[in-house]
Symmetry: C2
Subunit: 295 residues, 2 copies
């Protein structure tokens, strides 16, 4: 008797701050899920591969399938950072523990999931930011470029902007802002020098976790916080416009910052927005099935 | 016969991209100088102490004093980064090879040197930026805060700004700029992805070395380059105004970016500017003599 060739799929979504995994059966029914740490190989290859394995094991355990070996399942991952050719090659050459390991970009699986295989675009709004569309087999990406030089409008970008503004404000070369006290409290600091020490050498995810300070401050009328968010949102509008020019008639916002930033986007952008139909990690499963069916 | 207690002084100016040393005799006559690598302990303690020792040895060799042991000379260093209490303590606890090792901030020695002991202020415009004044025993510093969150108007800040703008311009969400081709050429890159890989994990000094691209582009009318430089210069004007409010009636610009940025400063700032009388490394020697005379 032959066992079926692929009984379970593990779909993985790996980003700058966390790694999500689901396990599905052959029919696409989600049986369990797992969550682990950062999985952007560009920010650390070992951390990324550790997170992928951990999330996969947690998903199997959550599904009551702990007895299934990783060597018996197909895993498919969409990862931040593998838009860089060198990182894609590194991940493809990874000596992984799975039966088969497929890798594509986080954007590709998010778009596949969001529109359940249909044409459309997405804008990632999490620790990083990026736009992506797939229209009639043309894949297009815009933005991203990493932290701190790119990813405008993202959580990390907003966090870094507010740190910059707070340090100037504490120097009194910028107007007062309620973000100052909120940041000092959050970092358990008393002054600028302590802030500089607290933020030194911190990764993008650290700054992403500061972004809520800007949104909370903007909501109570802080003009500097509002200016940061509006600047970021205007950039996201530019990305949306480019995706629309590529022929994307629907856009989904993906990532933890989406609910916060959405109200600041232009009416033109908001009209294009539709909720994602499936999660990025489910998009990873769709990707695996498409790839395997082509083999 | 007793040898004189202090025959030679080594004065050191350690910054984010290089470390300068001079050796003087008791009368303050400069006998030789040496140049080594970065010496900001916050960006690397071992690198900083290595650079200090190397610059000191080179200065002694340049003075024809190679036979003098480091253990026989007093060294005094003004360093970037030791405005952070933790870094100052680390440097004070350094198991150094000198007879005596004194350390203060890069700002303190630059101000001591620039006005030869008189009251006044300085603005550092190199890899980093910062304002500092000493008026009637009151020492005041403003700005700095490190890269990338602070140091606005500095070489590293200008370099990072132009990278950010070029990446957006190559995405066509920003107008074209001649900085794009200049940056691609400088980094031997063909596109945005290669730029992102080339700049990843690079230190502030790397970005400082890109700043000339903005100045060259502004000189031939590039409006985005001019906007970056003007934004930086306006911030430096704010620092100058704060130093003036502290009672500084003369300001010296210190650092490699000063000649480039000076023409963009306001008339009010320019009126306060006087050339530095002595170098920061000579200010280190002044500092050593003052400290030893107080012992």
């Amino acid at each position: 008797m032959n066992k079926p060739q692929h009984t379970y799929f593990i779909g993985i979504d790996g980003g700058g701050s966390k790694c999500k995994a689901i396990v599905t059966d052959l029919a696409g029914v989600i049986l369990g899920s797992g969550l682990a740490g950062p999985a952007n190989p560009f920010h650390g290859f070992e951390q990324a591969t550790d997170s992928i394995v951990e999330a996969a094991k947690l998903a199997l355990a959550d599904a009551g399938l702990s007895e299934i070996a990783l060597a018996d399942v197909v895993a498919s991952a969409g990862l931040a950072g593998v838009n860089l050719p060198s990182q894609l090659v590194k991940m493809q050459q990874w000596c992984h523990p799975f039966k088969q390991f497929l890798v594509t970009t986080d954007l590709d699986i998010a778009c596949l999931g969001a529109h359940d295989g249909l044409d459309g675009g997405i804008i990632i709004l999490g620790t990083g930011s990026c736009g992506y569309s797939k229209v009639a087999d043309t894949r297009f990406s815009i933005g991203g470029h990493g932290f701190p030089q790119g990813d405008k409008g993202s959580g990390a970008w907003i966090g870094m902007q507010l740190v910059t503004i707070v340090l100037r404000s504490l120097d009194e070369v910028e107007q007062p802002t309620i973000m100052s006290q909120k940041l000092l409290d959050k970092l358990h600091c008393h002054d600028s020098l302590e802030i500089v020490e607290a933020i030194a050498h911190q990764p993008a995810s650290f700054f992403g976790e500061l972004a809520h300070i800007a949104f909370e401050s903007a909501q109570v009328g802080d003009s500097l916080a509002t200016a940061i968010i509006t600047d970021g949102a205007n950039y996201i509008d530019l990305l949306a416009n480019k995706l629309s020019q590529q022929g994307a008639v629907r856009l989904s916002l993906i990532g933890g910052l989406s609910p916060n930033l959405k109200p600041y986007l232009s009416p033109a952008t908001q009209e294009l927005i539709v909720p994602a139909k499936q999660s990025p990690e489910f998009g990873s499963v769709i990707y695996a099935k498409q790839r395997i069916s082509q083999e």
